[in-house]
Amino acid sequence: MTIVVGYVPTPEGEAALTQAVAEARKSNTTLLVINSSKGDALVDNRYAQEPEIQSIEDRLATQGIDHVIKQPVRGHDAAAEVLDAAEEHNAELIVIGLRRRTPVGKLIMGSTSQRILLEADCPVLAVKAGTAG
């Protein structure tokens, strides 16, 4: 059993990661960090670069959490990558970060988190930036 966390280098992503670490420690399971990009633009600020990944790696290692970090670039959107990983590893929990948006904004933009919430087969824990402990 594993916990899957969808990570992006933003406050929401950090909140999700922090929460996921707490959950993984509680249930003593493997933490799978997913940070993906469709890879169709030259620049994607939601794709973590080498130093950021390294710092997460160090952080998880010092906290003694069994972890895997994956950065798939396969042309799928982030929701598909997280759902794939959850299914493949038979996840017990998915942790994601939510952005604050108005209902209208949600209607127009759609969202990665919405798709994960609707399609996941396991419980999903949604965290907002600045609220996670």
């Binding site: 890879g39 169709d40 633009a41 600020n45 794709y47 670039v73």
Partner: protein
Amino acid sequence: MDVFSSLMDGFATALTPMNLLYAVIGVILGSAVGVLPGLGPAMTIALLLPVTYVLEPTSAFIMFAGIYYGGMYGGSTTSILLNTPGESSSVVTAIEGNKMAKAGRAAQALATAAIGSFVAGTIGTALLAVFAPIVVEFAVSLGSPSYFAIMVLALLAVTAVLGSSRLRGFASLGLGLAIGLVGMDSVTGQRRLTFGQPLLADGLDIVVVAVAIFAVGEALWVAAHMRRTPLHVIPVGRPWMGKQDWKRSWKPWLRGTAFGFPFGALPAGGAEIPTFLSYVTEKRLSKHPEEFGKGAIEGVAGPEAANNAAAAGTMTPLLALGLPTNATAAVMLAAFVQFGIQPGPLLFANEGPLVWALIASLFIGNFLLLLINLPLAPMWAKILQLPRPYLYAGILFFATLGAYSVNLQAFDLILLLVLGALGFMMRRFGLPVLPLILGVILGPRIEGQLRKSLQLSAGDPAGLLSEPIAVGIYVILAIILAFPLLLKLWRRNRPAALQAGVPATRSGESEPTDASGSTSHGSHRATTGGDGDG
């Protein structure tokens, strides 16, 4: 005083509100395509050619000039912030510029690039205004044999000097000349390379060829290499420079200009060699040599000035002789023909107002670019976040529309696809695109001069050597072509001198290639150089 008053008339034309608007559109478009690696001013002008038929030629060329200069500016932004050269001429800028950005001096790097480009572009354009009429005076005295020789020199020199492999260069040139031959023989009316297809009798339209090779070929190439690890742009605020930066930049700007203009004006020009020479010179002359490799401002200021001065230099042979030396100039030459304007030494006499308005618009474009680029640099970097499927879908749409609208023939769309596939294969096998485009555009003009010379001498090949200038050019040509061979012999005879000799003589072509090869986009960028330097 004649030049000055003509230029003032040019300013009067270029500063009318409509023309000013086209200049603004041009520089914005140019900066955008310059920022995006793989897209260049040559492709943009080719795509816009059919759309601009409805415009006054003057307005269209003012816009093209803006795109050309804008592309030169835009390339440096990507080089500095992303370490991926947006243009082949900004490969050298990436070496120091990206290091500066990583050290937190992105704002200064962008500022010295933008202001240096402005200084060099303005001086270069002034030199163009002074020298072009002189070149014209000299050029009208030349006969067909000399023209033929100059064009052959331009074709072979560009092919031999640029790019990493001469064989690939000449293969590409051969393809271009073959495409240029398709159609009716202008003297005898025989059909050549038409394969019995009557629609080919008029030859291939240059717009279709250019759009297919630049736009469709590039789109297919990107589609084949779609997914790649995304990068982060180094965040930057508004570019600015401190007093120390000004002090260290102004000399490299002027030296870069001195390198750039003559190289741009020579038939074997292009912006790669002068940018590299400028970099090497600055490294040698710098008071802070220890900073080179770690982000020295001189290493950004010099090459950026050089590439903009080269851009101005390139306009000299284009306007004075009708001789393009890079891809953008080649497409602009095609544009002259499309608008029914005869390029060549008589251009200044026949189309004086247009030419001077064009030169004036280069000054204006330069100034606009400085105004636009200093505050908007962070915005240009955002363009890089655009998902490429959307971008290339738009380009393919315009490519198809453009190719169809030239003759309103569905057959041209088939040609577009076939030549687009050719463009893709050329990128796949590392053939440079520039020689092909020059071959297609200059081929028929060269043939015209050759036929004229031979007709004058009643078919005697000795007629080609009847003018002293032609003979001189053939000698230069022989030296250029034999040089690598001699170098090899010399190296074999003196193996001890190998270490010293090689970097000094060959570095001009090999180093920039290495620099771009080390970026994530792979080495094909260096060989497609043509669509960039223009």
